[in-house]
């Protein structure tokens, strides 16, 4: 009898506080599994954001710091400069990374900071109750865009992976999603490679993961996956934007 799948040792026993069907949990698993499989869990230091994943420090089975809203890349920079031989990662949502923390993420990439960022894009502010994010789609209703996001009023959603891929210091940039087992396997491959990028000392690495927010989108978990496929993927194309090995 062989184990096909069991809970990762990279996660603590603390149950996730996430809403039913929220794919944050899936992404947490992939990060934890990647750290374990690369043999670096004991050398890992993570940085949790402000947002739905604010309590991520309770879930990863490694040393963690909790950062101010948007500042996780700066905090991770401080840690990495002190411990260049450790594996340092930030885990951030779209409000954290694509709004209040744009300066910090752009400059972590620009310095080629040897950290890994896991960027969870669910097109909404989850923790504060479903307000509009920079990644909210045009027409999408949120509590602060009650008539739907109006492009003329507040612009179109920002594509962070494409933006960051223009920066030389960003050596690995990929957008993935976790809507099916096949896509989860692809996402895991990307997350693992983003850690390899850091371990090899290549430079900054980021994986953007398209994620759901069933509660604030107002769907069941399964309908939320459909909405992600039908609306998010067409606007946020999946794929690799930058790899540290040519031609990959």
């Amino acid at each position: 009898m062989t184990i096909v799948y069991e809970k990762s040792k990279g996660l603590t026993d603390t149950p996730f506080h996430y809403c039913p069907g929220c794919t944050h949990g899936v992404i947490h698993k992939l990060v934890a599994e990647s750290l374990v499989e690369l043999g670096v869990l004991d050398d890992a230091i993570g940085v949790a954001p402000v947002g739905c994943s604010v309590l991520a420090y309770n879930y990863f089975n490694c040393d963690m710091q909790e950062a101010a809203h948007g500042r996780a890349p700066a905090v991770a920079t401080g840690i990495k400069r002190v411990h260049p031989d450790k594996v340092v990662f930030s885990y951030q949502g779209d409000g954290d990374l694509a709004s209040i923390g744009t300066a910090e993420i752009v400059h972590a990439a620009h310095r080629g900071e040897k950290i890994t960022t896991i960027f969870v894009n669910n097109a909404i502010y989850g923790m504060t109750g479903g307000q509009m994010a920079p990644t909210t789609l045009v027409g999408q209703k949120t509590t602060t865009s009650p008539f739907g996001r109006d492009e003329a009023h507040c612009g179109k959603p920002i594509r962070m992976s494409e933006l960051l891929a223009t920066i030389d210091g960003a050596k690995f940039v990929e957008r993935v999603t976790v809507d099916t087992p096949a896509n989860i396997r692809k996402a895991k491959k990307a997350i693992k490679r983003s850690f390899e990028c850091q371990i090899k000392g290549e430079g900054f690495a980021i994986v953007e993961v398209l994620s759901t927010c069933p509660t604030n989108w107002g769907f069941t978990p399964l309908k939320a996956l459909d909405w992600l496929r039908d609306n998010m993927i067409p606007y946020y194309p999946l794929g690799n934007f930058r790899d540290f090995e040519e031609g990959k």
């Binding site: 309590l55 909790e66 920079t77 002190v82 910090e104």
Partner: protein
């Protein structure tokens, strides 16, 4: 060790390196830019890392990360830059991360001026960031004190697991004086077993954090912090004071202003007026108790500062209504003159004898 001539801002860097500071994250601003300039040259030689951040906000959050990872770390700036750092300072206070923050104060509010000022007194002593927290705050009045207190600040930060501020006016940063780098007194420091260094598979993970979602837990954290602050109030108050028992007038000033006040006091004494002085060296914790030593001949207290009377509020707390409190200050980057201070002393004393 013999004395060497050094500019204040460069002495900040030299003192930090001597104190074992290995990481500096900063962003240039007048009148403190010589600090990152000096450190960018000298820290790599000492085996440390200088990194110019994209903003003061990023710099203080790098300090948070590095301090939380167990390193001796510093940042420096001037007033508007220190305003931007307040977010990070309150997080450091909440997560109990030791670090040293130097403020070479310039005129405000807003962009203000680039000349020396002491208008960040409230910000330095009342916590510029959110929440109930305190930061130990040294206010040096010479380059020698600047060096001594920066070196001490690293030990105190580690000892208390707390941010420590150096509140110096821009004048201290810009002038040159002879300075001696003395060996710091050895102090026993607790191990940094709370720092994120990677578990190495040898211990349970640690979490550096200022979030306590349960009100009861946060209150307990607040009360624990308060206990620490009380110990600091008991043990860390520093001041210089003289002539209080028989003073007719007591002057209170710190930093550059205290030096000008001393000149005015000499001039007043030459005219037969008995003048005492209190010079807070720690702005927090503040030396309130020293006011009890002011004798019965005193007619009033004069606060002199390069701001609109922020220190003077603490004088009022210290004297507790026993004597009238007067204020003589300059703003905007103007520096007080001994003549104006002397005139105020004479007025309070009731004229020359």
């Amino acid at each position: 060790m013999s004395k060497i001539l050094m500019k204040g801002n460069e002495a900040v860097g030299a003192a930090a390196i001597k104190a074992g500071c290995k990481y500096f994250f900063g962003y240039p601003i007048t009148p403190s830019s010589e600090i990152p300039e000096y450190i960018s040259r000298k820290l790599p030689e000492a085996g440390g890392v200088f990194l110019q951040a994209e903003s003061e906000i990023a710099a203080i959050n790098m300090v948070y990360g590095a301090g939380g990872a167990g390193a001796r770390v510093m940042t420096a700036s001037s007033s508007p830059g220190i305003s931007l750092k307040q977010e990070g300072i309150t997080y450091c206070a909440g997560a109990e991360i030791p670090c040293v923050i130097v403020n070479m104060m310039r005129g405000g509010p807003g962009l203000g001026s680039i000349q020396p000022s002491q208008a960040d007194y409230y910000q330095s002593t009342r916590g510029g960031g959110n929440g109930d927290y305190r930061t130990l705050c040294y206010a040096p009045s010479s380059i020698q004190e600047l060096v001594d207190y920066i070196m001490l600040a690293f030990d105190k930060a580690d000892y208390y697991r707390n941010p420590v501020l150096i509140a110096a006016d821009g004048m201290i940063g810009q002038i040159m004086e002879a300075v001696e780098f003395k060996e710091p007194e050895p102090i026993e420091l607790p191990p940094k077993d709370w720092a994120t260094t990677g578990t190495g598979g040898k211990r349970k993970p640690v979490i550096v954090n200022s979030l306590y979602l349960q009100a009861e837990e946060l209150q307990e954290h607040n009360k624990n912090l308060e206990k620490k602050y009380k110990v600091m109030e008991e043990n860390e108050v520093r001041y210089e004071a003289f002539g209080l028992e028989d003073a007719e007038v007591v002057c209170v000033a710190y930093g550059t202003t205290s030096r000008i006040v001393k000149t005015a006091i000499k001039q007043a004494q030459a005219k037969g007026i008995k003048v005492g002085m209190i010079r807070p060296i720690t702005l927090w914790p503040y030396p309130y108790d020293i006011y009890k030593q002011i004798g019965p001949n005193a007619k009033g207290i004069l606060g002199v500062e390069m701001s609109l009377g922020q220190l003077t509020d603490d004088i009022k707390i210290g004297i507790a209504g026993r004597l009238p409190v007067y204020f003589n200050g300059t703003q905007g980057g103007m520096v007080p003159t001994p003549g104006s201070i002397l005139a105020e002393i004479e007025k309070i004393a009731g004229g020359t004898k």
